[in-house]
Symmetry: C2
Subunit: 341 residues, 2 copies
DNA sequence: TTGTAAGCGTTATCAC
DNA sequence: GTGATAACGCTTACAA
């Protein structure tokens, strides 16, 4: 590759001038500008990013910590990554895919300290997320897909409006005529990590149920489909006798559908099912087609990356208005008025 | 972060010695070794990757060109990326996610020339892949998930054994008693890019059908589910009157399942369906559960990354034996003996 | 408006 | 075995 020195020589200017033409941090006279630019083109010059990074202290690389522990089902999460990667690209950054099996981040911090990473995007954020604190302490900028309970402080997030989504879901069920509904959430594991989404969705559901006067029963299930299948029996045997369920984890919804088919329970006639998080691609495979109110993952990933990068670039004002995503209610074939009015 | 200079001072050695302790490219005496290592630990030293990259000419970063054009269904492809990213990580490399909407790679080449990328992994490889030639011409190492028709030359690939997979699939159908089967492949678009997988799968199917004495009819469908649904009508109205189909693209299989359910066609009684490429997570949602013989995507991504990195590290002998992946035949609920023997 | 030169933190090539 | 000392290609004061 051509170096800056060669461009400078060809254009008959100093090396610094070449840099300033590129960065625009200095006023350059018309003729010089032209000469430099044409020299760059002639030599097919590209500034060396490693040299830029070394001299400038910024790599323009960010990492997405991608959770791979729950390999259960439907990697909804890919869409987040795609959105973030595309946004990064558009802004001249690069997104490294960082698969994580646990929540340890010492290696991430080390890599950032080694100058390779300017910032990090986190998923599956907990209310009190040790990773966020650790990264903050290490002065590494963090973007979140999700958010902690530290509302004001960490402003670099893209999160769902769980209250709004829960409200929309429950309202829909109420309008269909349901009186007793279930909420399927993830089993909170042995660890004391409380994923923020679970808490906010739960709170949203409770509030919405109260608002619309529905009786709400909570069920717990792990992410895999088999757990969802077992769950259906719990649901129908429950004294709560719900006529519909709203499920937070995709595995549960599918498991319920599967098992219902096997035991001859008719969906949505005998039980309505609404998923609060299932990717489009995944829904297309379900039979009957799952009704959903899912997060716009691509968009959210895009937003998280943009916010983080804007921060890295030193923008004071957040360019993007701080919004939460509701997700669109997609009525398909698993929701209807209750049978046993 | 602590720099090498600080470590050298603390350990009372020259900076070069610190580097050589790290790289092991020089014999270091016991006491010096100890002093340097302890100084490194005390200062929590990490070599600056940008400086290493600049001085060494290698960034230890590779990119995965991730196709996002066919947003139809089931991102099988995430698993490839996860495998590749994990392998890279394990080997001290980093994998940047590079979403691509088309097959242009000038920007990739420019980025590699800018020193950020040491190599590139390609997906959806064509028989004659212009991207491979362009990258080769630019002296950028390429790893493939898939492979071109240039068998010997580009040795850095991880591909399926399409002949073997087709053989296994057809053999299975033959043993079930099917005489006339269909092969569903992707519609070859307007462009003249011939994705290698399509060709090899086709050839494999033809050979296998001949071998087991089955009559084979080819059907074409685009990737989306709706196309798959329309396809079912083509299949049942076809004079070939097949009793089973083997589908290359996941969208088609699902569409067929969907439409069969709607029009009251019983699967597998009236028609057996076997998918040659559907991710686990996706299959769990189908009803009835799709029988498959899918590629081990994670493993293949892992392999492609390892091969590429081994090459980047200058290994002459390919460490990993050059194998092709068959994929495991998973008999689930969409395949059975034909009804109309 | 432009040029000069001091870093940035390594690798690699000499010497000793 | 170990220590200097040029690169590596850029950013960015500081001069002019």
């Amino acid at each position: 590759m051509a170096t800056r020195a060669e461009v400078a020589k060809l254009a008959g200017v100093s090396e610094a001038t070449v840099s300033y033409v590129l960065s625009g941090k200095r006023k350059i006279s018309e003729p010089v500008q032209r000469r430099v630019v044409s020299a760059m083109q002639k030599l097919n010059y590209r500034p060396n990013r490693m040299a830029q990074a070394l001299a400038g202290g910024k790599s323009r690389v960010i990492a997405l910590l991608f959770p791979t522990a729950a390999k259960g089902i439907a990697n909804v999460d890919l869409e987040y990554g795609l959105g973030a990667a595309a946004a990064a690209q558009e802004l001249g950054y690069h997104l490294v895919m960082w698969p994580t099996f646990d929540r340890s981040i010492s290696e991430v911090i080390a890599t950032a300290n080694a100058g390779l990473l300017d910032g990090v995007i986190l998923m599956e954020v907990a209310m009190q997320d040790e990773r966020v604190s650790a990264l903050s302490k290490a002065k590494i900028p963090v973007g979140l897909i999700g958010r902690t309970d530290n509302e004001g402080r960490d402003s670099l997030f893209a999160d769902r409006d769980f209250a709004g989504a829960a409200d929309a879901a429950v309202k829909y069920f109420a309008e269909l005529g349901h009186k007793r509904i279930g909420f399927v959430t993830e089993r909170r594991g042995k660890s004391d990590i409380v994923v923020a989404a679970l808490v906010r969705a739960h709170d949203g559901m409770v509030a919405a149920a109260k608002k619309y006067g529905l009786k709400l029963t909570q069920f717990e299930s792990s992410t895999d489909v088999d757990a969802g299948r077992r769950l259906l029996h719990q649901i129908i045997e429950s004294p709560a006798s719900v006529t519909g369920v709203i499920a937070l984890n995709p595995g549960a919804s599918v498991g319920i559908l599967q098992e219902a088919n096997i035991i001859g329970l008719s969906i949505p006639k005998d039980l309505s099912v609404l998923s609060m998080a299932s990717p489009e691609s995944f829904v297309s495979a379900t039979q009957p087609r799952l009704s959903t109110i899912s997060p716009p993952a691509y968009e959210m990933g895009d937003c998280a990356a943009r916010r983080l990068i804007a921060h890295l670039e030193g923008s004071k004002e957040p360019d993007l208005p701080q919004k939460l995503w509701l997700g669109e209610l997609q009525v398909r074939e698993t929701t209807a008025a209750p049978n046993n009015l």
